[in-house]
Structures are given as C-alpha cells and as structure tokens.
C-alpha cells in the first residue's frame, strides 16, 4: 500500500520537498531553508552520474502554490561546477520507474580547504526557469551570512551543518524560487524544475546529512539516490542489503547491477541528456530511510575501481588542518639554511682539498 502511494506521488510529481502552509514550493537536493518548521520533506530523488572525472548531478525542484520569499535551498557541492543548466525533463521519473519503489533525493560531492571568515564569494549566478541559482564559495559563517542577507531562513542546526560541509568543500549552491518568473513562464503548481549540475571531481559524492537540516532528531529522512558509474562503485558507509521488511531503516542498496539497455536508451533520449555516455553503466539504487538524529554522515563513493571510498568525503573524518603560513615559512627557511650550511661545508672542504693538492 505504502509503495503504491509513494509510486503515485513520484510519478505525479518529480522530486523534492513538499511545503505545507500558505507558501508552498518544493526542493529536491539540499537542506531546505524555510521559516518556522512549516515544511515537511517527503522522499526526494537525485541522480549522481559519474564518467571521465565529471559528476553530473541531477535533481528537481518542485514549485507549487504561492512561494514565500524566504524559501530556498542550500546544497553542498564537491567542487566548483562548470555549468548549471536545466536537466532532462523526465530522467528522474524514469529512474524511479526503473527501480519500482519510487521516491526522491540525493546529492553531490567533496573538495577541501575552508576559507574561514570573510564574505562568501559568488562564483556563478544563473537561472533555470523560475529558479535563481547562486554558486558560492566560503566557510560556514560566510555562506550562512550570505544566505541570511539574501533572505534565506536558516534553522538552528544550520551553523553546525554548514560547518560540517565547509570543512571539506567550501562550495555551495543556493537556490531560490522566483514567484514572478514562475507566473510569467506559466509554471503551474506541482511542476518540477530539473536542474543539472556539472562538477569536475575526482570521485562522486552524495551529501546526506544536509537532508536533516531543520528536522527533529526523530524525523524520518527518506531519499532515493541513483548512481550511474562506469563500474561497480565502492561506498562508505557500506549500504546494507534489503531485508524485505517495509520498516527497515538505514542506507539500503536496493539495486546494484548494469543498467538495462532500455533504461540507458530512455535516459539518452530525454531532453538535454546527450551527456550520458554511449556505453554500459552500472546502476546503483540506494534507499535512504533513516532518523535525522542518526544520519550524521554523507555517502562517499569510489568509482575508480580501487575500492577505497574516502572517509573524509563520508564525513567520518576531517581534512588535516594545514600548517599556518608562518610555520611553513619558518620550516622552509630552516631547510634552506641547512642546505646552505651543507653546501658551505662541502665547498670549504673542497677548497681545502684543492689548496692542499696545489701545495
């Protein structure tokens, strides 16, 4: 019964988040930043496809009803995207249909370096239909401040969650709905806006903890994550096998195998989907059903075949803090000094030896 309801919801809509109350709009990836707990997430769906060092991250933003100006979404990204464009019209729905139990959501990846204080740097601004998308670079405080100053409402866990991501990758995608443009473009309620983010990165990565943003610890976070990779990927944490129990919780690997020809052909035939390689790809379907209080990690993926997903990307460890510039300089001077001393010593001995020989 539950599966039928979920499937109906997934087919009827696209992904994302349902917002209750007078202002309604829905977001796929990322943490929802909206006022006063008036928002509830249903399942969300995301595709992270990885080929030739490029992650193609697809998600959908659903618009419905009157949008509150303070509603938006913040998505951590693994690196600086080269482009953010409209995604295929029905790629995510097709994936949902492929794996039967439909639902929604997933994410992007990692990077490093944490610009601490200061203002967030705007790397890119673009529009996809009724969405205003801004790619930001900055630490948690800088990005949080930018979001607040641009009318995003940040729930109380936002500072900690943003910091969790900024310590590993200082790149974020802030998305907001433009009600005016939605009306002008005739976007009707319930219509999803697919967004395709192209990110060069050494390995794909799916942020999961961001899904808990603004949620109570006991809230159930539900997401469907699809991965398309060149080979069977290794993941951290390791997903568990389905038990068959409808109330199973955790990160469940529902499907793992070569994508069918039919699926690949369908995906390639979608609008703006010529990026999908003309070769077999491995399809992994992960179902996330986890209490927000327990979902404190991301999904690290090693698609290279080496089988070593990065614990830092999974959020189980943090990158080592680089030595302060002063310390590095001092160390360099010390090494240089030692080098000069050795050269001088050697030269002196050589000179003495030559002098002795000439005598």
């Amino acid at each position: 019964m539950r599966r039928h309801i979920v499937r109906a919801a997934a087919v009827a809509t696209i992904a994302a988040i349902v917002v209750f109350g007078s202002a309604i709009s829905a977001l796929a990836c990322g943490g929802l930043v909206a006022p006063n707990g008036t928002i509830s997430l249903t399942r969300t769906t995301t595709l992270a496809a990885y080929h030739d060092g490029i992650e193609h991250y697809l998600t959908s933003f659903q618009f419905s009803g009157k949008v509150d100006g303070s509603l938006g979404s913040i998505t951590p990204l693994p690196g600086v995207p080269t482009k953010v464009i409209k995604g295929g019209d029905w790629t995510l729905q097709r994936l949902e249909l492929e794996v039967n139990p439909p639902a929604l959501e997933g994410f992007a990846v990692t990077d490093a370096a944490v610009p601490a204080a200061g203002a967030a740097q705007v790397l890119m601004r673009t529009q996809v239909d009724a969405l205003n998308i801004t790619i930001l670079k900055g630490g948690a405080t800088a990005v949080g401040t930018w979001a607040r100053e641009h009318g995003f409402f940040l729930p109380p866990d936002a500072p900690a969650v943003l910091d969790f991501y900024a310590q590993r990758s200082p790149i974020f995608m802030a998305t907001k709905f433009s009600e005016k443009r939605a009306q002008a473009q005739g976007i009707v309620g319930g219509e999803g806006i697919p967004v395709h983010v192209v990110i060069p990165t050494p390995n794909p990565w799916v942020p999961l903890r961001i899904l808990t943003l603004g949620r109570q610890p006991q809230d159930l976070v539900q997401a469907d994550v699809f991965l398309l990779t060149d080979r069977d990927p290794a993941m951290l944490p390791q997903a568990v096998s389905p038990s068959g129990r409808p109330d199973q919780q955790g990160t469940i690997l529902e499907r793992s195998g070569w994508a069918s020809n039919g699926l690949m052909q369908d995906l390639r035939s979608d609008q703006r989907s010529n990026w999908i390689p003309d070769q077999p790809m491995w399809l992994s379907y992960l179902k996330i059903d986890e209490r927000a209080g327990d979902l404190t990690n991301d999904l690290a993926i090693d698609a290279s075949g080496f089988g070593h997903p990065d614990p830092i990307a999974a959020g189980f460890a943090f990158p080592a803090v680089p030595a302060p510039a002063g310390a590095t300089a001092a160390r360099t001077i010390l090494w240089l000094g030692m080098g000069v001393a050795l050269v001088a010593l050697f030269s002196r001995r050589r000179i003495h030896a030559l002098a002795a020989r000439s005598r």
Binding site: P35, N36, G37, A140, T141, A142, V143, G144, T145, A147, R148, L154, P155, P156, D157, A158, P159, A160, L162, D163, G214, Q216
Partner: protein, 143 residues
C-alpha cells in the same frame, strides 16, 4: 584610675559591638555586588549549561553570538518563557534580561533577580525551533 580605665574599655567594647551590629545589618540589606557572566553562542548552543544566582543578585550578561544566524537571550520564569515561545515579538532589548543577539554580535543586558526563584526559571532563545534544538538552561538560586 582603675575605674576610669574599666569605663573606657567598656565604652570601646560597646562601640565595637555596635559597629559590628551596624555592619551586619548593612551587609544583609545590601545586594550582592554585580557579577558579569559571559555567554557564547556557537552552533546554536549556549556555552553555559546552567546558572546559579543568589537572592537579589544583579547579573550583567555579556552574550556573544558566533553564528551566522540571529539568536536571543531571554531570562525569566516558566510563564515568561512560554509567552516568548508562542510570541511573535520580532526583537528584544527594551526590557532587562531580554535581548536579541544578531549574527556575529555581542550584546549585553543587566538583570536583577528577585529574592526568591520559583522553579522553571531559565535563560533561552525562542526563535523558531531554537528552544527545541536545546537553546535553554535552568537558573537556580543558592540557598
């Protein structure tokens, strides 16, 4: 000679006793000296788990918000906290013990506690979801 000495000593003793009594009364009547309590907010948590005050104590709270989001610091009894949790006051600062602490700012307020505290006194932030997230702590009175 001895009588005079004894009289002088008794007078001195009386004076000292009187002074002690006066000092004791003065000490009892005067409020304790003002105390400064520094509070830091980080990741939507107060670094102060709880607070103990003495009867009638005046406390100067210096609250620093290191977060990129706004917070509040409101001192009061259970009823007052309830009102703020359900309330819609956008900002605070007019009443002692009630301040808004904008992102990255340091704000202070001075509050004099009553002679007795009923149970349920707290310091808290009542912006949407913040109390439930754990932004509150109990205030008790030393006996």
């Amino acid at each position: 000679m001895n009588v005079r000495r004894r009289g002088t000593a008794a007078a001195a003793l009386l004076a000292v006793a009187a002074a002690v009594v006066v000092l004791a009364f003065t000490a009892a009547a005067a409020p304790p000296p003002e105390r400064t309590v520094n509070v830091t907010i980080h990741f939507s948590h107060f670094d102060l788990a709880s607070l103990q005050v003495s009867a009638g104590e005046t406390v100067r709270f210096v609250v620093t918000n290191t977060d990129p989001i706004d917070h509040e610091f409101l001192v009061g009894d259970a009823e007052m906290q309830q009102i703020h949790e359900a309330g819609t006051e956008a900002s605070h600062g007019a009443r002692p013990g009630e301040i808004s602490v904008p992102a990255g700012a340091t704000v202070e307020t001075t509050f004099t506690f009553p002679g007795r505290l009923a149970s349920g006194w707290e310091f808290a932030c009542h912006l949407p979801g913040h109390y439930a997230y754990g932004m509150h702590g109990p205030i008790t009175m030393t006996t």
